[in-house]
Symmetry: none
Subunit: 214 residues, 4 copies
DNA sequence: TATGAATGAGTTTTCATTCAT
DNA sequence: CATGAATGAAAACTCATTCAT
């Protein structure tokens, strides 16, 4: 798999920035921007403090890189899921939920979300970027899909954006729970099950044939 | 000599702590713990930096007081709503939702939540306290009410805790949205409408007479 | 004993300054000038912090008053002992030693000495005052008495100032020991016995009829 | 651009701690612990304030290091003198006195003693350490040597510890005099002469063949 | 490139001193 | 006279950033 010629030892240079960003990600997520110390980041990345400055101009730059890096990869996965939706809405939704659970489980979105939330006033561009490039696209795609399904008569009428929020919010709560309360002794949430139950609940609640609630 | 009034300082032993905590609440919510400067808090409270130390031993103490103070008042309101539940579950739920919307709208829970989330690793006791005294009671009461309604046949079967999370999570998203994205240019969410629509969706989704989903 | 008309309660005003100086004496001796807090002194004196400023302009002033006060009373006692010396030198010396032991035992000279030593560079006037009004008079009188006794043939020849120092230094060591090491667990020195043994040793060592030493 | 030389800072990991301790020794001895400013110490050591914290955690730590450092070197010299005592007691004593005078003259014991005395209540561990590792060993060794000489009939009977105190106390007075009164205008004591005269006086006073004093 | 000792501006904290009551 | 809340200047301490090596 690895292109030949790549020496196992001394695999420096190219990887350095990523290693640093990865270490920074951990420390920033744990402490927040201001309380994170470059000393700690450097130590966790296994480099000297001075080395950080070979790759990033300032602490803020490094922070931006961390947030930025958390942004890119997931976008594609999510977009894809919604774009290539063929078939009935419920199937689409279940497929999407599976992907979202995967992201929540495998990636540090939780930590990133925590940071974006916590530092939104100190780094407004980052909050803005996250909303424009992550939140709105996702919410928009979801709303669009919902609106389309409503138009096809698959879902009952109602504001699609609110419906989308109803749909995704437990995922947010899930990752926040993991970041906030689990490290402090709380029982972890069973995110896959939670997501699945919620999706079914949501689908029933949005079924068009149903009469008025209550 | 002094041209009347404008004393160099006022003495207001009784009111001061609250004023300081209120100012600190704003600044901490805006900047986070580490980035908040006591200078700013003092200025916003209209006192000297030294005065802070007449009422709080350290910056951390002040922070704790802020979080603590955000804890107390809401507890009662929420508990009350669920305890004095008479009548069918839907009514209880709508009443509860109204109260929750009120809290989300009138109080700085949003800012507090942001801080609890962001500083949970730096102040684990606070995260713990919030979970034990705010989150778990609320989630527990809600789960209990749901379980009771399920037992009475008013709601369909399923894990009541997950159902409770499905129910409350949009409120969390709502306050976080307000704290995180609105200051950065996002359209505010219409929390009352969102909450109401979600409650109705949830109730339909939990209706026992419905057939299997999808 | 008390002149009639002195009410037992409300015996304020006149005594205040002394009470404050006494409290300050304790705190300064314990902590040193810089580390002593006016809060503590006020508390120990049983007055408010502001009240200190009714009697002393600054912390330094209060300190000066403390040192000054430790100066005055003992001077007289010592001087007197040496001036009214009638009879042979040994008797004079024993009488003087008894008085010195009394001062060392009954008064806070130890604490004062500690402070004068420790703050001599920060308050040179005080060190100077102590030398000029306490140390030099005492040493001078002693040297004078020794010189006179030497002239009379009662003591062997030699620099009388050095002899005086040889004579009094164990007293200094005694009070310093009490201030420094006893609070930290050391066995107290038996100052009276030490003084008496030392005086006898000194007298033997200064006896004129003795042959060359060793 | 830089006109050769004059680098903004030097790197001297190895030497720095000693330089700092030396500078701190001076400033602490001059001002006392509380009144000494780290700014001054840093300036005198030729480093920035921050550099102090590369080597010492707190101001207290630095102070401890200063006291500790004053402790170590002298111990050996003193012990050695007493241990290798061969020959009659007077010779031993004169040799010891010479060493003690050397220490008093060449080293900053005076300043250290001043600090130990002045800060004994604020740093009890230091006072304790000094007593246990400096004062008691010295006094103990001296008492032991005296007791041995008494047993051999070289010295007259009497409490050897008191005799030891009688013997060494002028040295204490000498260093304190230098630290306290000389900087304030007093004539320096001629410590070597004082010590020598005192030793002879003491030897005569302890001679066994003498009759009762007076 | 990489290091890490050194810097210095910035922040928390202390406390003598003031002053409205 | 007396109080003690409030001030503000000063001092300890932190840490992002620089730079000689």
């Amino acid at each position: 798999m690895l292109p030949a010629g790549r020496p196992k030892f001394k695999r420096r240079k190219a990887e350095r920035p990523e290693e640093i960003v990865a270490a920074a990600m951990e420390v920033f997520a744990e402490k927040g921007f201001a309380a994170a110390r470059l000393d700690d980041i450097a130590a966790r990345a296994g480099v000297s403090k001075g080395a950080l400055y070979l790759y990033f101009e300032t602490k803020e730059d490094l922070f931006r890189a961390v947030i930025e890096q958390g942004l890119a990869p997931n976008l594609g996965r999510m977009q894809a899921a919604l774009v290539e939706h063929r078939g009935a809405f419920p199937e689409l939704l279940r497929a999407f939920a599976a992907i979202a659970v995967g992201i929540a489980t495998d990636t540090p979105v939780g930590g990133i979300a925590k940071m974006v939330i916590g530092e939104s006033r100190n780094f407004p561009e980052l909050a803005r970027a996250w909303r424009e490039r992550m939140v709105e696209p996702a919410l928009g795609a979801m709303s669009g899909a919902i609106a389309a399904a409503q138009a096809r008569g698959e879902l009952r009428a109602g504001d699609p954006r609110h419906a989308a929020i109803s749909l995704v919010s437990p995922m947010l709560l899930g990752v926040i729970w993991r970041e906030t309360f689990v490290p402090v002794g709380a029982e972890p949430l069973d995110i896959p099950t939670l997501a699945q139950q919620h999706v079914e609940l949501w689908l029933r609640g949005m079924r068009p044939d149903a009469g008025a609630a209550a």
